[in-house]
Symmetry: C2
Subunit: 317 residues, 2 copies
């Protein structure tokens, strides 16, 4: 039984591999909520939806967000009416946001809504937002002060230079109840035997999950292995601003910067063949390393990468 920590597209792709090799009882996916925000009066959960759409086979592999079978009629009229159009919402995608917002307003927890949506979309594996409480990533920028995450990420296209990040509400956030149950080894899952950090942006997608005190404490208390898959290939992020942020934060922009960022929190590493020359340096820091193809161009590659990561976890157990 493995706990996978995922952000958006990179994490979702590895999850697509994990569900091919692990049964629903063998996997629980914990998703970042730091990107969540309110827009046009709707509660939007980008990472949760990316993982959900990907596992439901509905995702748009070209855009890396939203659905493949999408239409944009709502957005066209919204523009005509003078509404905010910097965050694109497709016609089908809107149903998720509107129905989720309605159920949240009626008092239902996010994790419960997410579980129900997943079931209705035919997803058998467990997807859990790390917390049902408000946890918001805030970007402290060099030149524009503090920005809400989506203001930075989508509206400003990740252009502002980052000085630091802050996870508003993280210290007060409780684990979502199904995650607390899962970490305690209660059904439907047996006791977790390893944690896999998916190739998502450490600063933007994984740190907000690890910032929830009960999750951080659980990891510290458990003596189970943690393996991470590097989101950097040959000094470049496959998607998103990871490499740019690393430079801004002065931590280099290759996989070593990621290894140093997680430090002793992560035991084993999975890195891309393009970074094979770094394997010895990582081993020198005391971490077992698996080198493999990590650019998940299709579900078969994702399954192979998942297999490598899970094998390393089992080796460390």
């Amino acid at each position: 039984m493995i706990i996978a920590i995922s952000g958006g597209v990179g994490g979702a792709r590895l999850c697509q591999g994990l569900v091919q090799i692990l049964s629903p009882a063998e996997l629980a996916i914990v998703v970042n909520v730091g990107d969540d925000f309110e827009h046009l009066g709707l509660s939007i959960c980008p990472d949760l939806d990316t993982v959900m759409y990907t596992l439901a086979g509905l995702h748009n592999p070209t855009l890396g967000w939203g659905r493949a079978d999408e239409t944009w009629n709502f957005m066209q009229v919204l523009e005509q009416l003078g509404g905010d159009t910097w965050f694109q919402l497709g016609d089908r995608d809107l149903a998720v946001h509107i129905e989720r917002t309605r159920r949240l307003a009626a008092g239902e927890p996010l994790s419960s809504i997410a579980a129900d949506f997943c079931q209705r979309l035919g997803i058998r594996h467990t997807i859990i937002p790390v917390t049902d409480q408000r946890l918001r990533t805030r970007v402290i920028s060099r030149d524009e002060g503090e920005l809400a995450f989506q203001d930075y990420f989508v509206r400003r296209r990740a252009q502002p230079a980052i000085v630091a990040l802050r996870f508003d509400g993280a210290e007060q956030a409780q684990l979502a109840p199904p995650l607390a149950q899962t970490l305690a080894g209660n059904p439907p899952h047996p006791q977790p035997q390893g944690v896999l950090i998916c190739p998502s942006n450490p600063w933007l997608s994984v740190d907000p999950v690890l910032a929830v005190p009960d999750f951080r404490d659980w990891i510290a208390r458990q003596r189970i292995p943690i393996v991470a898959v590097s989101p950097i290939i040959g000094g470049r992020a496959v998607k998103g601003p990871a490499a740019k942020i690393m430079q801004e934060l002065g931590v280099g922009h290759d996989t070593m910067g990621i290894v140093d960022h997680y430090g002793s929190a992560v035991q084993g590493w999975v890195i891309d063949r393009a970074d094979a020359h770094l394997a010895d340096s990582i081993r020198a820091r005391g971490h077992p390393v698996a080198v493999t193809e990590s650019l998940m161009t299709d579900p078969t590659v994702a399954a192979a990468l998942a297999h490598t990561a899970v094998a390393l976890l089992r080796e460390l157990a």
Copy 2:
């Protein structure tokens, strides 16, 4: 300068005629808000939107609500997610509801949002919700107690027998500021010289407008003529439950029931050729009558009907 009072489809069609023969300075359309409701967290204003879409040329003439160029992808996914689907919301239509809800939540009055939307959709004539305050038509049914209007009208397809109607909030409702300005003869309109009651359901669409005290009082104070176009043709409502409601309320189901309902509030009547035999009875009650084609199968018929009604108003002035 004429004030037209409109509900949904019948009223909107006559407005489509009125705008062909009256300049923007010569017409202000006051629209019922008693049908408005909150659904899926959105503020929905069916009559306002029907008039707006009709004057913008975007209306669906077959359905009598919504847009002609509509798609239903949102609704399909909402159903898949287990959401409420008894009230149909098209993908393009959603933009109006979401953006209006957002602006209302930000504190902007409904009349201001409506004016802006109309301008953006290229409508030159004035469309004003009678009030910016909450005014809700409630149906007191024979067998199912009191129902919210859309619960009665859409969810229950106007099946429950009506005992009475009540306009929740009407007594406290203020005129929407642009309507107060218009009634006072302030720019952009000159002093109103007549009121035209469009062929909308008197009980469901017009009475809620007349229930706003300052509007009722203005009509009582002014000595300007009021002309109504009967929504009943040959004992049948063109669309909607008017005839059914009239029977339930025991007021017959022909145009005489409508004439008696408005009583001395209306001076002149426009009735359909199919009801020509009633003209003498209406005249006997002291009302001038114009008999014409009133089934607005196309904009040309609507313009001719508008011309007849406006001519009668001018005759009475």
